[in-house]
Structures are given as C-alpha cells and as structure tokens.
C-alpha cells in the first residue's frame, strides 16, 4: 500500500486539497460517483478527475463535467484558456478615469445572478465578464495594465475552475493556516513546520517523541517524512491524543494504531505497577468468551504490550528527538523529557509566542544537558511573480510562530567548566579552558 498522501494521480476515495480561482481552499474526499459543490465556482462530477496527476487544474464545462486546463489562473494575454480582452480601446494612463466605484459598471447583481443560473460551465463566467466590460462606461479610459487587473479580479470571482492537489502536510497545514482559523494549528506556518522537521532531523527509521496539540498536524508531517519506517511516541495530556486533523486527512484508526505509540503524561512521567495493566484471563476463559469480547481483550493486551515497549524505549533513552507543538509552559515541560533522548539528539519546541520560549532558553542554557540553544523565526515572503510587475505581495498573514532548538548531550560527571569568571558573550556555552 502506498502511504497516505503519496499517490501520484487523483484516485478514488482519497482526501485531497481543492483550490479555487479566488485562492480559497477546501479539503474533500473524492467519492466515486459523487458530485462536489464549490459554491459560486460551480459543481463537478468527481469521476472525471480520476487518473489525472495531482496538481491538475480543471475547468467546469457543461453538465458538471470537467476538462483539464493548463493553469488555474492562466495569464490573460497568452492563453486560449483565459478570458481574452475584448476588442476595446485602452488609454495611455488613467488620467481621465473617474473614481466612482461600483456605479460605473452598469450590470446589476440581479443581471449577474440571472446569467449564472442560465449556465453551469466556465462559459458563463466568460459571458458575464464580457457583458461587464461592455456595460462598463470607463473601461476604455483605463490603461491596458488597469484593464488586465480588472479582468483578473473578475476572473478570480467568476471563473468556474479548480485545482486538485495531493493532501501533503503542507497542503493540510495551509488549509488551516490560510483558509480556516490558524489558531487551530496554533499559528504554525508551513516554513516553521519545515524548519522543525529539519532541526529535529526527521527521517525514515527514527524514533521520535512528539507533543502535538494541533490534532495531529505535526504527526501527519512526521508520518509523511518517515514513510512507515520508525515510530512516533505521542505524549499527550488526556486519556488519548486528540487526532481530529489526522482523521480528516484520511487515516483510519487502524492505520494510526499501526504507526503511533500514544502515551499519557501519567504513563510517561509516573509509570507504576498499574500502568497499562490488563487483567489476565486464562486461556480457557478466553476461549469461552464471545467473539466480540475476545477481540476486545486481544486489543487491550496488544495495547498493553505496546505501552510496555514504549516505556522500555523511554527508559533505554532510545529516542531520536523530541518535537513539541504544545501550549504547556516549555520551560517546565522540556527539561522533564530530556532523559528519554539518546545523546546528540535534537530538542525542538514550537510556540506561537517568542516570549514563551525565552524562559526555556534561559533554563536550558543553565541545564548542562542541552547545548547550542537558539530561538528561530522563519518567515516566507511571497511575490507577485508576473514579469514586468514583480513585487512582494502587499499583505500577508502575520505570525507563524517561533522554534526553540538545541542539542541533547551527555555531560561527563565531575567535569567542571574552568571559567575565568569573566562574563561570556552571547551566553555561549563554548568549551572552557
């Protein structure tokens, strides 16, 4: 079985990301025979998209059918797919253009609604835009530049197009970060997630200790990188980890059970004779159980065995990194999990607010078990990438969070820094002489 999210072509029953011309995003499951409703961007029959590569853009044609197109927002000038600029004049500058907003475009909302009802496909969008231009008194007074801007804006509003992308961890994150409430992923941005994956040295085959209060977004990213190799110990503060985001992305309980090792704070920090204890029935008793009960009993035993193994990994310091996206005070949380890590392993903790990581840095600068501490801020700046009109986007979503990272080391007993009493610059824990 290919891992979740690694199919190359659009395939039945998968969860995927749909992008609309306006930039709006949706997560949908592609149920064979189904119809997907994109609101003002139209409806389409799912089956027509199967077999195309993930990343393909489509236009809705008649009868909710789709036809592949080159690009969701193909340039107006140089494509047959775009809405061509009708044969109208343009002005050298906007000098004679009067700013009176909506009034200048004489098509009423009712007119547009009526046109929308008449047709389903993208053809309608073209008709609407052409009508709008014809009824736009000042269109000829605009510069070519302004005309293009106007058309692109209208196209983003009316074009019946969409694009289907694989539900990568970036796609899933961007959906929450840009489309839904970023607070649901604690304001974590794509670039910050990428930075965490690198600093935590995530790769197939590792054993990672994870705290994840995003409902599993972080875990989803680790699973994607690891491709089924290695294990994730998910440390959580309730009966079981909150996996709402993982489930939306298509993972079943069985798959999650296979890849993950959940462990509660109590089990992790205070394992005792009760931890993971299951009452043992005799073989005879088990044989006599009704099948459903026997099944449940087997599951409980398996879970207990898994927990035992997990505790052993922790006790053996077998873990390869701790990666945390948690709202708990990192200054008290992180020092308590360090002992589970092998030597020379990354310690990576995210927080939405830098101020919450400063105390952690102070604490670990003093704790001899972590060196090379830092708080990173990573922010991507996007550009309008149109030759001749190249500039950074005027506005962007703020935030994205901060990442503390350091390296777990094994201090030698009795080693004492032979400091010279002078204050070290930049809090550096460089080797003393």
């Amino acid at each position: 079985m290919p891992e979740i999210g690694q199919n190359k072509v659009i395939s039945p029953n998968e969860h995927c990301l749909v992008t609309m011309p306006s930039g709006s995003l949706r997560i949908v499951q592609l149920k064979p025979g189904g119809t997907i409703n994109l609101g003002k961007f139209g409806h389409f029959l799912v089956d027509g998209t199967f077999g195309y590569a993930y990343g393909q853009a489509f236009e809705i044609v008649a009868d909710k059918k789709v036809s592949p197109i080159k690009d969701l927002l193909v340039d107006l000038e140089d494509s047959n797919d775009g809405t061509p600029i009708p044969e109208v004049k343009s002005s050298a500058n906007n000098k004679d253009l009067t700013d009176i907003g909506q009034k200048i475009q004489k098509l009423t909302t009712q007119d547009i609604e009526n046109m929308k009802k008449e047709g389903e496909g993208n053809q309608v969008a073209r008709q609407i835009i052409e009508k709008m231009i014809q009824s736009h008194e000042a269109f000829e007074k605009k510069t070519v530049f302004s005309q293009e801007k106007y058309l692109t804006r209208k196209q983003k509003k009316f074009a019946r197009r969409f694009q289907i992308d694989r539900l990568s961890s970036s796609a899933l994150l961007n959906y929450y970060y840009h489309e839904k409430d970023p607070q649901r992923v604690l304001d974590l941005s794509e670039e910050t997630l990428g930075s965490m994956m690198s600093h935590a040295n995530i790769m197939p085959g590792g054993n990672y200790l994870v705290l994840d209060e995003t409902g599993g977004l972080l875990v989803y990213a680790l699973l994607e990188r690891m491709q089924g190799q290695g294990s994730i110990i998910w440390l959580h503060e309730n009966d079981q980890p909150n996996t709402w985001i993982l489930k939306q992305s298509g993972y079943t309980d069985a798959e999650l059970d296979r890849f993950l090792r959940p462990i509660s704070f109590l089990e992790f920090f205070e394992p005792d004779e009760d931890t993971g204890k299951v009452f043992k029935f005799t073989d005879k008793e088990v044989e006599e159980m009704p099948p459903q009960r026997r099944n449940m009993y087997a599951k409980r035993l398996a879970r207990a065995e898994k927990l035992r193994q997990t505790l052993e990994m922790v006790a053996n310091q077998d873990l390869d990194a701790v990666v945390s996206v948690s709202t708990l005070n990192p200054a008290t949380l992180i020092p308590r999990v360090l002992e589970a890590l092998s030597g020379s392993r990354p310690v990576v903790a995210y927080h939405q607010y830098k101020e919450m990581l400063i105390e952690l840095d102070h604490v670990l600068q003093k704790d001899k078990r972590v060196i090379m501490t830092n708080i990173s801020e990573t922010k991507v700046r996007r550009y309008q990438t149109v030759p001749g009109k190249l500039h950074p986007l005027m506005t962007s979503r703020a935030g994205g969070g901060y990442v503390f990272h350091g390296l777990r080391v094994l201090p030698a007993e009795g080693v004492q820094a032979v400091g010279r009493g002078k204050k070290r610059k930049s809090g550096d824990e460089s080797a003393a002489s």
């Binding site: 970036s170 994956m197 600068q365 801020e377």
Partner: protein, 334 residues
C-alpha cells in the same frame, strides 16, 4: 548515510563541538589525536562512548562534545567552497516541494554539498539524489566527502548541465528539482528528459539576483511550467538574555540621597570611590542599579526582565527561491 546511531565506533564521522560555531569533523581512528586549543583528545578514548558525550582533554584543561553528524550540524562545520544553502532555506524548500522518504531529487550544482546532505537524509534509503557539479575541484572534494559520509543514495556527476543536460546511465525520473546555478534558464530546457512523467514535478531555482529570477521565470514559462512563484525566506535567530529593570522611584531616591548628602556637606559623590582592604567599594551612597559596579546578568540583588536579542549581524539575503511545477498531460483513466 545519516542514521540514528548511539555509540561511536572506529571509522565513524564525529563532529567535535569546540565552540558554538566551531564544530570540527573528525573520522575516528585509533591512535589519532584531536588537537584543539582546549587540549588534546585521543580518538581511542572516544570509541565506545555514546554520541553526545562530553569528554575532557588528556590534561583535563577543557572539554568537547562528540556529536553525531546531521545535515544541519554539517552545514555549520563544513568547509565553505561556495556560498552554501542555509537551513532556513533548505528546510522550507524540502517542506514545500514535499521531499519525503523515497523521493527522487535532482540537485545542480552541488557546491559545498550542504544541501546534498539534507536531501540525502530526507529521501532516505528508498530515495535517490542526483547531484551535478561542473567545477572539477569542487566535484572531487564533494565526491570524497560523500564517500566518506557514506551518502549511498547520492549519485554525483561531474557535468555542466547547462550545456550537457542531466542524462546519465541510470534512469532519473526526478520528482523534485533544485537548481543553484548562475544561469538556471540554460538548464531548464534540459529537464523535460529526466523528470518523472507520471506525476507533477516541483522545481526550485535558487538565485541571488532579481534579474536571474526574471530570466528563469521566462524559461520556465517557455518550457510549460506553471504556478510560478518567487519567494524569499527571512530568518532570524534569537537568544535569551536578561535586561536590568531600572525603576523610576529608585532613580529619584538616588537623587534624594545625593541631595541629602550635599546638604550634610559631605559631597561624597565628588570623592573617588573608597575601597576597603578587600578592594570592595565602600559607601557610594544609595546605589540602586549597581552603578559603577560590574554586574553579572541575572544577579539576584537586582530586578531583571527576560528579553531576546539577535546577534549583531543578520543574514538579510541568501537567494530568491523561485518555485514552479510541471503537470504531466495524463488522460482520465476511470
């Protein structure tokens, strides 16, 4: 190949942590000795120790840590042969292009090889990195390094891809392409022969100057790439510090104290500070902020505020990252 190893063995690559920005790569060999300004460290003593161990020098004058190489640590320690790709750029490129275990990646040029290491780690044993370097000396150095680091999933080729393309004996079928070349627009037309045909392929061109980006955009458009977007990654590193909190009332009280003493005719402030037999200061009057004394950050006699600061210099630019993708023309199959 990068791995999660616990114990140091003969022949292992170890990064010796000497100072925060001073990691020295060594290949452990019985009998060899690592010499640092903090003393000498015999390799023999390292064997069998866990990675991450703090070890003291032969004469116990200082210590180092024995670190397990990761691409990120290697990036700090490596000899710069060219401008390197830093972690804040490489981590974003990998995440955005969805490079994961098993991915097949093209990289040109290899440069100092820092990004090759990160790609190699991320694609793992099931993946493959095809790296190209046109400069012979750099190629040879990278080759030696990759062999010594056992990057078995990397195929390094000495080649000017702008003129000669990417084809090699092996089938490439790259899913992601990273171009760090002075003129990426010359290499882009050669890509169609070597990228995967059954899926959407991602590309990132890494160029310092705007004009390079503009030319690359045109080449990408000409070759059918879409969703072209230029970005840049802006990164900062902060460290935790403490700043003394100086209260207004304390400052006023100090002035009151001075005034009082002036009235008393003492005018102590005009005298040089007196010192007692131990050299400690005596009676500077009310001294709420330790004025004139050397105060250690966080000294508990004073009040402190946690603050954060960056180093004195910031990396404000590395390169522009130009992303695009190539969607294959596939027929509907269902």
């Amino acid at each position: 190949m990068f791995q999660h190893k616990k114990t140091i063995a003969e022949g292992d690559l170890v990064l010796a942590y000497i100072g925060r920005d001073n990691l020295k790569p060594i290949t452990v060999k019985s009998g060899d000795v690592l010499q640092t300004k903090y003393g000498n460290f015999p390799h023999t003593d390292m064997i069998g120790k866990p990675f991450g161990s703090q070890v003291t020098s032969a004469k116990n004058v200082g210590f180092i840590y024995l670190l397990l190489p990761t691409p990120e640590l290697w990036t700090i320690s490596l000899p710069h042969r060219t401008q390197i790709v830093y972690t804040h750029d490489s981590s974003y490129i990998v995440q955005r292009m969805n490079v994961v275990g098993g991915s097949r990646v093209i990289e040109a040029g290899t440069g100092s090889g820092s990004f090759t290491h990160a790609f190699s780690r991320t694609v793992g044993p099931a993946g493959r990195v095809f790296s190209y370097e046109f400069h012979e000396q750099r190629y040879l150095q990278a080759k030696e390094e990759f062999e010594s680091h056992k990057l078995e999933n990397v195929t390094l080729t000495h080649r000017d891809v702008c003129n000669e393309g990417f084809d090699i004996d092996t089938e490439i079928r790259a899913q992601m392409v990273f171009l760090d070349l002075p003129s990426p627009w010359e290499a882009i037309p050669h890509l169609s022969r070597v990228v995967a045909k059954d899926q959407t392929v991602g590309i990132c061109c890494f160029s310092p100057c705007i004009e390079q980006v503009v030319k690359a955009v045109e080449a990408l458009q000409d070759c059918g790439w879409t969703a072209i977007e230029m970005t840049e990654v802006q990164a900062k590193k902060w460290e935790a510090r403490k700043e003394m909190v100086r209260e207004l009332d304390d400052a006023i009280e100090r002035l009151r104290d001075v005034k009082r003493r002036q009235k008393e005719g003492a005018e102590l402030k005009k005298l040089p500070p007196k010192r007692d037999a131990d050299g400690n200061e005596k009676d500077r009057g009310y001294n709420p902020f330790g004025k004139g004394r050397r105060i250690a950050e966080g000294d508990e006699s004073f009040q402190w505020q946690n603050v954060s600061k960056t180093g004195p210099e910031l990396k404000t630019h590395t390169s522009y990252l130009l992303f695009a993708r190539l969607v294959p023309v596939l027929g509907a199959e269902v």
